[in-house]
Symmetry: C3
Subunit: 160 residues, 3 copies
């Protein structure tokens, strides 16, 4: 439980499962494990109780760059919470492989890497440079579900 | 041929290969198989004869939410048609892993998950909750080729 | 070193590592190798010295379709340069699996496949139809980092 000890030492809490704000059905799984690989659904940022992190909206308009960074960090925590529910122990993640960061970008907002760093910095702090390294994209998309400011999809390697 | 029997029982037909509406060259493969994994190119919705499903345009403007859902369902059929051409038998898909849903979203249209459900619902109906479960994202993008309303990329596990 | 001989015969040069135009931190790796698979971070087009390829901006506005094609070709070279740094020899790539092409699209610009062909054509020229074939998407996104016209993420199989 080393990763969870680190989270606790950093004062960070894994959020509860997402409380969707509408009646929308979400007929998919948050984490799909086959063999030593897990693909992770696009996650948004959550508060500790599983409701959507605020403020909602577009980064560069309603949401500042710094708030966007915090949203990407909260998204990393939401992903870790899903992995914990699926795997039981976050130490079973032996390597992060890919992070795909999508920023709900206001027109002209191009500092998308600085936003998604909120995700990458936390993963590297927790897992270190060996297991935590990942390839990454950080793009600006037109719209995101529920007007969340950030959504991140990922892939990890896991111990069998 | 269990999946194809289910398709027939549901009155669904796999479309012919895409007839591109322009002279554009598409120098890639629809399904790339290596070992037990297949990555699937971004597909759009097709009519049975392989021409583009209509209406074209942005969901939330020219295309309604319900039409978007039907387009995502038609996109699932187009993906299944590509898999059938590549694998011979759709039963060789042993697990769906990842669906990446891209909605050609009108400004302010955020109900992208409800659109991409047209894909997920059909895959789950056909393959059931074990093989059919998949991680998923559903985002709004700025533009899609040929003004299609929906494009979906996916990944599956296959029997060798 | 067959691929590098082909590059030389075609008069093509792999660019130096990216010189980021701003003080932004990029805390991720360009290529993540685990076993026989490598995921490749989203790359943009570079000049030989590693600075950003020009013109910057949106394809369909500041950047023409033909310039977008050249940008996608330069992006393929940037990806090959990252693979060379990671793998030592580009012949270790035994199969291209997936290309995910993101075009910084002006409103209404839908010829995104014709842009990303600059990537696919070069990969197929270099690796041939067996190893070079890949599944692909080519979408229009709202914004890209540093206003680059094209970003491409990819995945390859490598010899151990």
């Amino acid at each position: 439980m080393e990763i969870e000890r680190k989270l606790e030492a950093m004062g960070l809490v894994l959020p509860a499962a997402m409380q969707t704000p509408t009646e929308v059905k979400l007929p998919f799984v948050q984490v799909r494990v086959r063999g030593s690989r897990a693909t992770i659904a696009g996650h948004g940022p959550l508060k500790a109780n599983g409701t959507l992190f605020e403020p909602l909206g577009k980064v560069g308009a309603e949401v500042s760059l710094e708030q966007g960074y915090q949203a990407a960090r909260a998204t990393a925590l939401a992903i870790l919470a899903s992995l914990k529910r699926e795997l039981g122990d976050l130490d079973r993640v032996t390597a992060w492989l890919r992070g795909f960061g999508m920023v709900n970008a206001a027109p002209g907002f191009t500092q998308t890497p600085a936003v998604i760093n909120g995700f990458s910095d936390l993963i590297l702090d927790l897992y270190g440079p060996e297991a935590g390294s990942h390839s990454r994209s950080a793009i600006g998309v037109a719209e995101l579900p529920f007007s969340i400011p950030v959504e991140i999809e990922a892939e990890v390697e896991i111990a069998s």
